[in-house]
């Protein structure tokens, strides 16, 4: 009797993990089948035209990378600076606990709320623009990147810190020359994961960067990201083919970010001891 119970339990557990894996393959497979026929060099490197948005999605790819990279540049110094302060300078106590709690709470705020905030604040200053979108996205991913940076800095072995102080380095010299360089691979892993989230974000973006089909050059120009394009194509029934092509490309980019983050994470395990 017990043995049968065991077998049933194992079978159920096995099935649930199989469902997870199967679902991933079905999802990716479906997008692949629907999207692959659309993918071509022309799709990557030309502008959309006509009522069915045929042609390519170059401006959307450009706007997506522009926004994401901009957000990355805005968030990195704030996140790393905050992490350094919290781990190295701040005295453990109420302020630190409040900042941590604030960061955690911030990361569970729905992205559309960030979008609304960005609309009210940044769009009213800059108009629909890359900079308004970038600022909004960087606020959104700040908690994730800051917590990852904190963990990365705390993981630096104490012996490195002591060695540096023991040679007469000041605290800032130790942070700048030892702590941050040693923690960098893991900080970058966190940054890439945050950027991955920004890359796939829709709601916060169309409220702040706009929907204009435009190859953005200046940060004050608006643009339409791939996710927003996908959203408009699907909701307005413009072209499901192009929507799936965009979805496939988006998935490929985001999966690459994940692999890159994993690769960086592994490298840091090898590097530091």
């Amino acid at each position: 009797m017990r043995r049968i119970e065991d077998k049933i339990a194992i079978a159920l557990l096995w099935m649930s993990s199989l469902i997870v894996l199967a679902f991933l393959f079905v999802l990716l497979g479906y997008i692949l089948i629907k999207g692959l026929p659309v993918l071509s060099p022309r799709f990557l490197f030309s502008f959309p035209h006509g009522v069915e948005a045929r042609g390519g999605i170059l401006p959307m790819i450009a706007a997506t990378f522009y926004l994401t990279i901009l957000a990355g540049f805005i968030v990195s110094p704030i996140a790393i600076g905050g992490a350094v302060y919290l781990t190295q300078y701040a005295k453990p106590g109420r302020l630190v606990r409040m900042i941590r709690f604030g960061a955690d709470a911030l990361s569970s705020v729905p992205s559309i709320v960030f979008g609304l905030f960005g609309l009210a604040l940044f769009v009213s200053i800059f108009g629909y623009s890359m900079i308004a979108g970038g600022l909004t996205l960087s606020l959104m991913i700040l908690p994730v990147v800051m917590r990852a940076s904190e963990d990365a800095i705390l993981a630096v072995p104490r012996s490195f810190r002591e060695a540096s102080f023991g040679l007469g380095a000041t605290q800032w010299q130790t942070i700048k020359n030892v702590m941050i360089p040693v923690a960098l691979p893991r900080i970058l892993t966190g940054l890439i994961l945050g950027i991955g989230r920004a890359f796939g974000e829709t709601a916060a973006v169309f409220l702040t960067a706009g929907m204009a089909i435009n190859l953005p050059f200046l940060p004050t120009e608006p643009g339409r990201t791939m996710t927003v394009h996908l959203y408009l194509l699907a909701t307005e029934g413009i072209s499901l083919d192009i929507a799936f092509g965009t979805a496939l490309l988006l998935s490929i980019f985001i999966l690459s970010f994940n692999f890159l983050a994993r690769y960086m994470g592994r490298r840091s395990v090898k590097g530091g001891r």
Partner: protein, 258 residues
């Protein structure tokens, strides 16, 4: 130059409300090797870390009494701690090279103290690796990571890194306990060589090592009830090892406890 590098007076050391060191008073002679011996947890390392104020990194540590380094109390308010630690460098129990290249490890100290010229750094790196008896082994792979060296080589790299800031005193916290006998031999030879120019203070668990290389020995022991460490006996190494005055010293060095 005065006879003593350090003069420790009425030193108490507290972790929070635990008194780890109790009323130590003694002098450490310049240009000699002094060994701190005693059972585990008797405060040897704590005492060593008081000498370059590395204990300041601990949030709940408190020091009472004075430690003079060449007649200047290092716990005075006007002491610049980075300068102190540059004069009193430290070698740790576990070799702890930075995960940087061999060159950058040695150049770390000079760089933070303001040496920028490449030619000057090259000279320091070569001469200190020579002094640490490591130059011949690494001269063709200075850009390799310091972590790729063997344990014994890593420890000599750490010694080179410390020598590169041109210290007056070298503190060594059981420098050979994590490495093999042949490397230990090399490091002991090196310590002998360094004694000519530096004051060396080392903590060791190894009685033979203390007897082999030190001129002066301090025996510390924690009291049973309070756990506070006291200086039980201090003197010339050969006297401590051949004619200990205190029964507890004799028991310890003959291996009856610890």
């Amino acid at each position: 130059m005065s006879e003593y590098a350090f003069e420790v007076r009425d030193l108490d050391f507290w972790y929070d409300d635990f008194k780890a060191l109790d009323d130590l008073t003694f002098g450490i002679r310049a240009n000699a090797i002094t060994a701190f011996i005693g059972p585990s947890g008797c405060g040897k390392s704590t005492l060593l870390r008081c000498l370059n104020r590395l204990n300041d990194l601990l949030p709940d540590a408190k020091v009472e009494g004075t430690i003079e380094l060449f007649d200047k109390n290092i716990y005075d308010d006007d002491v610049d701690i980075p300068t102190l630690r540059k004069r009193v460098a430290m070698i740790f129990q576990q070799p702890n090279p930075f995960p940087f290249s061999i060159y950058d490890n040695v150049a770390y100290g000079p760089r933070i103290h303001g040496v920028k010229k490449k030619s000057e750094l090259d000279d320091v790196v070569e001469s200190t690796l020579e002094k640490a008896a490591l130059w011949r082994e690494v001269k063709d792979k200075l850009s390799d990571s310091g972590l790729e060296l063997s344990g014994g080589q890593q420890q000599r790299l750490c010694i080179a890194r410390a020598l590169a800031v041109n210290p007056e005193v070298l503190l060594m916290d059981e420098p050979c306990s994590a490495i093999d006998p042949i490397s230990t031999q090399k490091i002991e030879d090196l310590i002998h060589e360094l004694k000519k120019k530096l004051t060396i203070v080392m903590v060791t668990h190894n009685m033979q090592q203390a007897a082999r290389i030190s001129s002066w020995t301090a025996f510390l022991l924690a009291e049973v009830e309070s756990g506070s460490a006291k200086l039980i006996e201090y003197g010339k190494t050969n006297e401590i090892f051949t004619r200990p005055k205190d029964k507890r010293t004799e028991n310890y060095i003959t291996g009856r406890f610890g």
